[in-house]
């Protein structure tokens, strides 16, 4: 970094740029925007069956309802009735003949008020010819296993031979549950028609450019006629990467049709019924290993309930395979994905994007080997780490199943440091001792590592743009393609710009993300936000600075090398000039004070057909240890203590990063414990509101929650400030909770039988595992 980096705002725990507005209720979300004159409200009419033929749709009562201004179906779409993000043409805005999931949109009604539209939508009379819905992996497989997209196979080494040669082998299976995003702000879009074909849409989206393309496609206009804007989302977590398209397109369609502004905000229940979630998986595995706990071969199939269309299921299931190794070297490995078509919501991106499911698989493999060999699970983890020099390691033990060499491995160091700092061994011993004296409540402890690959595996997504304007009073307007969903991206990028110019954060205005300022952006996803947009913004700053240096050198007759941007001033030879004076002078000297910036991640490439490449620029590491108590009479449990050591490289903002770590951990803990999605036999989602779908509350967080950022660990790659991405990796730290529960359950059977705890590990699942332990320990 440039001179003066230490004194600047980079690396400091600056507060979220909107914090003061958040707490005052002054941060504006889309539903808070003052209603434009003539605003109408749209609401979706949904199918009431999961699978079958739509025979007829009688909308007369809907049209006749009070306040209704229009009813829209597929026939009203001037462009294409499709919003498939992967252009497979498998995601109609409105169903026309086949119904493929319960809650599929059939039509939209537009009325004077949201209440009127919502009431009217319920009046439709649809006649269906019902067909048997395929609701889960087993049913989809039994019906032939139709896939929504091409599967992936990763293979390295001769798996059959290695498996055959393994001293020991075992087979097993794990069910890994899905997860609703439960962003607090539901999906929403506000569309305002302009002149000719112009359309402005305020969309709560992580991917404004895709919303722009989809709206253009549905309206049958060029992308240049559509502008998407989003200042902030009330949470995204992946749920607004593609799932926002539907709401934006319907609002825009209605606005176009009625030539009036139209807002569409589904009720929470409808949001949960309509939109996709984290994929649930079934992973079937065979492991070859030896008595020392060393894995020789892994052969695994990751089958996912993808729902009714492809959406992002291809890259999600790919990423599951990319993380089925976690931190471990498999001498021979074969991993296959099975992205199955089911008649359920179309599962989509969710923080970790398949990675968490792959990693839960990896940790189960370790657990199986530990129980089979009688070794301590942490010891088995250590023996199989990449590099693994301490035990039968050596050169070559650092190649992933996708043939990328792990060059930045610090998993061993992170595990060792955490094991020491949380007093893991002593606590494990004490827990075992106390369990022996406690007939009902049993405690468990586990420590699990994380290695998460950073970059979009769709390589072209790894680019970003920014736009920086410097005004003559020295204030700066910053815009980039990344979206703010709470993760603190805006403040981090503002810190980059403040540092670059040597100015204060208060001199920078962070403006809403809009396709009109920075075009062709990637989704704010894959943890990439600050990596990509921070670099793009810095690029723009450097362009402006170069112009300012050139100008200043001429103006003050100094060599360019004598001009330095210091915190609070610019040093021009012996002079100290404040930024505002410099830019004022530069303006008078007719210097352009605005620039775009661009960044494309280097080094990465990926050949999906061959299953080989270097898809990740680098890896982010971390480790967590959890201590839990379970009740062997009811299956209830409590996470009592968690210790985390996480690698953010050189943090751009430690407070923001800590927030991502804690929040990601608790969200991951919810996924693995109480967040259970239940569909009935007709394919109706029964957990479609917070009354039935249980995300963690304040008392679920561990009372003892020690979170530390790994110190003195700059990213080995030249990322922005040598930082590391932090959005997703911490979610997977929560896998330690699953294994601590498993450890507690195993205590019932004297730690001889692998509990094989599936997820979510609800109290019911924990009790079932306890009962199985009791039965198997006796038998």
């Amino acid at each position: 970094m440039q001179a003066g980096a230490k004194a600047g705002p980079l690396g400091a725990s600056r507060i979220h740029d909107s914090a003061a507005r958040h707490v005052a209720g002054e941060a504006v979300y889309i539903d808070d925007i003052a209603a434009p004159a003539g605003l109408l409200h749209a609401y979706l009419g949904l199918s009431t069956i999961a699978h079958g033929q739509l025979v007829s749709l009688d909308l007369d009562a809907v049209r006749a309802a009070p306040g209704v201004r229009a009813v829209l179906t597929a026939a009203d779409i001037p462009g294409v009735n499709d919003i498939s993000s992967t252009h497979r043409h498998d995601e109609p805005v409105f169903a026309t003949d086949m119904i493929l999931h319960h809650g599929q949109p059939l039509f939209a009604v537009v009325a004077q008020t949201r209440e009127a539209a919502r009431h009217a939508a319920a009046l439709a009379k649809a006649v269906y010819e019902e067909a048997q819905p395929l609701l889960d992996v087993a049913a989809a497989r039994a019906a032939g296993g139709a896939l929504v997209t091409d599967p992936l196979k990763l293979e390295r080494g001769d798996v059959a031979a290695a498996m055959a040669a393994s001293p020991r082998r075992l087979k097993g299976s794990i069910e890994i549950g899905g997860q609703d995003h439960f962003y607090l702000e539901s999906q929403i879009a506000l569309a305002i028609p302009g002149e000719e074909e112009d359309m402005q849409v305020f969309s709560s989206t992580q991917h404004p450019s895709e919303v722009q393309h989809m709206v253009a496609q549905v309206l049958g206009v060029g992308s240049h006629a559509v502008t998407i804007e989003v200042r902030r989302m009330g949470g995204g977590f992946g749920g607004k990467e593609t799932q926002s398209n539907l709401f934006a397109c319907v609002a825009a369609l209605a606005a176009r049709k009625l030539k009036r502004p139209v807002k569409l905000r589904p009720d929470r229940d409808d949001d949960m019924i309509v939109t996709g979630k984290r994929h649930d998986f079934v992973c079937d595995y065979e492991i070859g290993f030896d008595d020392e706990g060393q894995i020789h071969a892994v052969d695994a199939v990751f089958a996912a309930r993808c729902g009714w269309n492809a959406d992002l299921s291809g890259p999600v299931t790919d990423r599951a395979l990319f993380h089925m190794d976690n931190c471990y070297f498999y001498p021979a490995v074969r991993a296959r994905s099975e992205p199955l078509l089911t008649h359920t919501v179309s599962n989509t991106a969710f923080r970790g994007f398949g990675g968490p499911q792959g990693m839960v698989g990896a940790e189960r493999f370790i657990e199986e080997v530990a129980f089979a060999t009688g070794l301590d699970p942490l010891e088995v983890r250590r023996r199989n780490l990449y590099g693994g020099a301490s035990f039968g390691g050596g050169p070559g033990r650092n190649v992933t199943p996708y043939h990328q060499t792990v060059e930045d491995n610090i998993a061993g160091e992170v595990i060792d440091a955490l094991e020491r700092s949380c007093d893991y061994r002593e606590r494990q011993r004490a827990i075992r001792e106390a369990n022996a004296k406690s007939p009902v409540i049993k405690r468990g402890i586990a420590l699990t590592p994380v290695k998460f690959g950073i970059s979009f595996t769709a390589t072209w997504y790894n680019q970003a743009g920014a736009l920086v304007h410097v005004y003559t009073d020295g204030t700066v307007m910053l815009n980039h393609g990344g979206t703010e969903m709470g993760q603190g991206l805006y403040v981090k990028v503002a810190q980059v710009v403040a540092q670059a110019f040597g100015i204060g954060l208060d001199q920078i205005k962070i403006t809403a993300t809009t396709t009109g300022k920075v075009p062709n952006t990637s989704a704010t996803a894959a943890s990439s936000g600050s990596d990509l947009n921070g670099m793009a913004a810095l690029d723009a700053c450097e362009t402006i600075k170069a112009r300012l240096v050139e100008f200043a050198a001429k103006h003050w007759q100094e060599s360019p090398e004598a001009i330095l941007f210091r915190p609070g001033f610019i040093q021009v030879g012996a002079r100290e000039i404040v930024f505002a004076d410099l830019v004022k002078a530069a303006y008078m000297g007719r210097v352009q004070l605005s620039a775009t910036g661009f960044y494309a991640t280097p080094k990465i490439h990926w050949d999906r057909k061959a299953g080989r490449g270097h898809p990740f620029y680098y890896f982010a590491y971390g480790a967590a240890a959890a201590e839990v108590a379970i009740d062997t009479l009811t299956g209830e449990y409590k996470v009592e203590r968690v210790d985390i050591l996480h690698d953010c490289g050189t943090s751009l903002n430690p407070a923001i990063d800590k927030g991502q770590i804690e929040g990601g951990f608790v969200q991951g803990m919810g996924w693995l414990t109480t967040e259970e999605l239940v569909w009935d036999e007709k394919g109706v989602l029964k957990t479609h509101a917070p009354s039935t779908y249980k995300i963690p509350v304040a008392s679920d967080r561990p009372r003892i929650f020690n979170v530390a950022l790994l110190q003195d660990a700059p990213n080995r790659e030249p990322t922005i400030h040598r930082s590391k991405a932090v959005g997703e990796p911490p979610l997977m730290l929560a896998i330690c909770v699953l294994h601590a529960l498993s450890d507690a359950v195993a205590s019932v059977g004297g730690h001889r039988v692998c509990p094989r705890l599936d997820t979510p590990a609800t109290p019911e699942r924990v009790l079932a595992a306890v009962e199985r332990m009791r039965a198997e320990a006796v038998g």
């Binding site: 009720d267 969903m485 407070a655 927030g659 804690e662 990601g664």
Partner: protein
């Protein structure tokens, strides 16, 4: 009769002459007043993004409570003050300590839940001086945050007490204003979509209930609110019981408590906690703080939910229900007059009958409430010193969740240690809160030991054929229903054994 709704929005007197009876406070704030700080996250009182603070007169004193604006009907604010997140900043725009602490501790990320969290903490700040971490967690149980993992919010709740107040909330002035507004006139408010009737006396209530047999009686609206926001039902007329002060009374009568139907869960908790720490914990876990502040004991019973957590506990305690109505009925029920046990005309010129609580629940969502009747009070016997008592609520998530199974047990033994009285009441096991009569039978005459428990467990399948649903499977429910009797036995015979993983009872065990 008064036909204008009156309340304070901050310091401003609001008078509304026409309003739909089920217009929610949240919609009114956001759509009518353009106060968009309060958010809609779920519209069912579970996420807390809409939390506002309501001040009301409670026996002449001002009481502030956090409530969910999304399921509260606007006319129920009559005579109250409502404070929203917009009211917290000081004159010169300085943040309130609650807000400043949230900023300082990085307590917001996406910010959407934040106004609700700020208001829940503001209520805590108004009411309590140095809450423990457990108490802070309780105060936030009705506020979901998906971003932070709560740690910085808990830190903010501790820090807020160390910051200087930028704006003084003048309680005396507000109390005086509310006193001035208070009257005993029935509020009869008309709106385009129906009438809202809010009597201020029990007599007026009885008359209205008799005159409007089709009316929906609303207490805390923590369930009725959802009939509107989720079921999109139109309710007309609505009779609101919240203005009737005597119905909020909680009286200690020596051997029993008389609890008015409109006493909220928050108000009832200390009274029940005095009977048993198990009741304290049950009441602590009831919904979220906002629901505990709004929901009432009478509403919880009258609503007849198969899982309502209070009825099993009250049934196990042997509680009796007082139903009242005006005697001007044209066809008085013969039973009413015939029964000598029924106290009549004790007050207000009403006829009353008192029944065992368990008899009130006839079938799924069907209760023994006769024409013109309303639930007036619950009589809760205190526990005898030799009684054994137990409550367990089992839910997927420990706090702010609905039971998969709730078990409440009462036993008495004779001098020889043999069980002479047993009440085993369960929620979540049938269409109504119900006693396990076969299991009770199995216990009678036995010593309280493992053999007795085994016999009771063996009888449970006779008592119950539970359902499988999204909360739990039938198998889990039946297994746990039995295991709770084991827990009861251990807790009453081996006090040294740890039996709870979370909550007050676990903390008490840890000391």
């Amino acid at each position: 009769m008064r036909d204008t709704l009156r309340f304070l929005l901050g310091d401003e007197l609001i008078e509304i002459a026409s309003c739909n009876p089920t217009l929610t406070v949240l919609d009114w704030l956001r759509l009518d007043q353009r106060l968009t700080g309060s958010k809609e996250g779920c519209a069912e009182g579970d996420c807390g993004a809409c939390t506002v603070v309501v001040g009301r007169l409670d026996r002449g004193r001002l009481r502030y409570e956090a409530i969910n604006a999304c399921i509260r009907f606007l006319p129920t604010l009559d005579g109250c003050q409502v404070l929203t997140v917009e009211h917290l900043k000081g004159e010169v725009g300085a943040l309130h300590p609650v807000q400043q602490a949230m900023v300082d501790c990085h307590g917001s990320q996406c910010g959407f839940c934040t106004p609700g969290i700020v208001m829940s903490l503001f209520a805590l700040w108004l009411n309590e001086d140095a809450p423990s971490v457990s108490r802070i967690e309780d105060a936030l149980a009705g506020n979901l945050c998906r971003c932070t993992g709560y740690e910085p919010i808990i830190a903010a709740a501790q820090r807020m007490y160390r910051l200087e107040e930028a704006r003084r909330f003048d309680r005396d002035a507000v109390a005086a204003q509310l006193r001035e507004m208070a009257d005993t006139e029935t509020l009869a408010l008309n709106g385009p979509k129906g009438r809202f009737l809010a009597p201020a006396t029990v007599g007026a209530l009885a008359d209205l209930v008799m005159r409007h047999p089709d009316a929906t009686l609303v207490a805390g609206a923590t369930d009725v609110g959802l009939w509107v926001t989720k079921g999109m039902r139109r309710l007309d007329p609505v009779i609101y019981l919240g203005r009737i002060e005597p119905l909020r009374a909680i009286e200690d009568r020596g051997h029993h408590l008389d609890i008015g139907a409109m006493a909220t869960h928050a108000e009832v908790r200390p009274a029940l906690a005095a009977l048993s720490p198990q009741l304290d914990e049950l009441m602590r876990r009831f919904g979220g703080e906002q629901v505990r502040n709004a929901g009432t004991i009478g509403g919880n019973i009258a609503n007849g939910s198969p899982i309502g957590d209070l009825p099993p506990a009250l049934i196990a305690l042997g509680a009796r229900l007082v139903l009242a109505r005006t005697p001007r009925s044209h066809n008085p029920h013969p039973e009413e007059a015939a029964s000598a046990a029924v106290p009549k005309d004790e007050g207000g010129g009403l006829s009353r009958r008192t029944i065992p609580l368990e008899d009130f629940f006839l079938d799924y969502r069907k209760q023994d409430r006769r024409e013109g009747e309303f639930v007036e009070a619950v009589i809760v016997p205190k526990l005898a010193t030799d009684a054994l008592f137990h409550i367990s609520k089992i839910s997927k998530r420990f706090d702010e969740d609905i039971s998969a199974v709730c078990g409440a047990f009462f036993l008495r033994r004779d001098a020889r240690g043999l069980i002479v009285e047993a009440r085993l009441a369960y929620g979540g096991m049938a269409g109504i809160p119900k006693r396990a009569t076969a299991a009770e039978e199995a216990l009678l005459g036995k010593a309280w030991d493992e053999a007795a428990v085994a016999a009771a467990i063996a009888a449970l399948p006779t008592d119950f054929t539970p359902l499988s649903d999204m909360r739990a499977s039938a198998r889990y429910r039946l297994t746990v229903a039995g295991n709770l009797l084991r827990r009861f036995l251990i807790e009453t015979t081996q006090p040294g054994v740890e039996t709870r993983v979370a909550g007050l009872l676990a903390e008490a065990h840890h000391g």
